[in-house]
């Protein structure tokens, strides 16, 4: 077994021709497969075919984007990060394939109807209720329907990638949409006189 390649050697060998490149690709494929297999070992829903398919996709992407590697990490770490992202994306798509965005959305009044917790004192519940009511008003006044739909989907566990897919958008745009929504709500809560400490105290 050869000594591990340094970054410069990986770059050289993967850009080379013939046997040098072929050997580098084989080594990289093996490394990515071993790493991915170990990290998904505990999952019962992932088979070797899935891993090999993901690694093959990742290799294509890595070879097409070698110029994007900036050398701020080991090359193999960078390559593994790309592979993990592709794997997780495929798993999310499979997990959420039958779930619509609409099924994740709740009308505001239902979504923010605060359950009474038996361990909460009446005074504390009243404080929680006041905060939630303020939040409800802010959501109705400050957020678009799209922002609320994305927010409830995210709260329900739907990955941003899947929200984006259903909206015909991309992950960054959805993140920015949600970030804008959170900023608006934060500004509204602060204007209403609430601090982070007030919230922690009310929901402690």
């Amino acid at each position: 077994m050869r000594a591990p390649r340094e970054n410069a050697i990986w770059m050289h060998d993967l850009r080379a021709c013939g046997l040098v490149q072929a050997e580098a690709i084989t080594d990289l494929r093996g490394l990515l497969l071993r790493g991915l297999a170990k990290s998904f070992q505990a999952r019962g829903d992932i088979d070797q075919a899935f891993l090999e398919d993901v690694v093959q996709q990742a290799l294509g992407h890595i070879l097409d984007h070698l110029d994007q590697f900036q050398g701020r990490s080991r090359f193999t770490t960078w390559a593994m990060a790309i592979t993990v992202r592709l794997a997780m994306s495929a798993l999310r798509r499979k997990r959420w394939q039958d779930v619509s965005l609409e099924s994740m959305t709740e009308p505001i009044e239902r979504a923010l109807a605060l359950d009474r917790d038996d361990t909460t004192s009446p005074a504390q519940h009243a404080e929680q209720h006041a905060i939630v009511e303020t939040l409800r008003r802010l959501i109705e006044e400050a957020l678009t329907d799209t922002q609320w739909m994305a927010m409830t989907a995210e709260l329900g566990g739907m990955p941003l990638e899947e929200i984006a897919r259903r909206m015909g958008s991309n992950v960054n745009a959805v993140y920015k949409l949600l970030h804008d929504a959170r900023k608006r709500l934060k500004h509204g809560l602060e204007t209403a006189g609430y601090t982070a400490e007030d919230v922690r105290s009310a929901f402690a």
Partner: protein, 82 residues
Amino acid sequence: MALRPEQAKALIEMVMGTRDQEMTCDECVADIAEFVEVQLTGKPVSEALQAVQEHLDRCHDCTDEYHVLRQALDALAEEDGR
């Protein structure tokens, strides 16, 4: 679906923890390899990489990917006897 108190708390804390400038998922992906290697050394994270940690604190998708990446790298390091 009424919000349980812990869900309401999580939502509002997420809102109150919002920063004016936040790293997007693509920006996090660009830095995650460097970030995870610094984490593996146990050294403190630089200011430039602090934004990655802040993004992971609020993005479940990127956090899941980070954990899988860590496990993969830990496994490979064990192979190499590092």
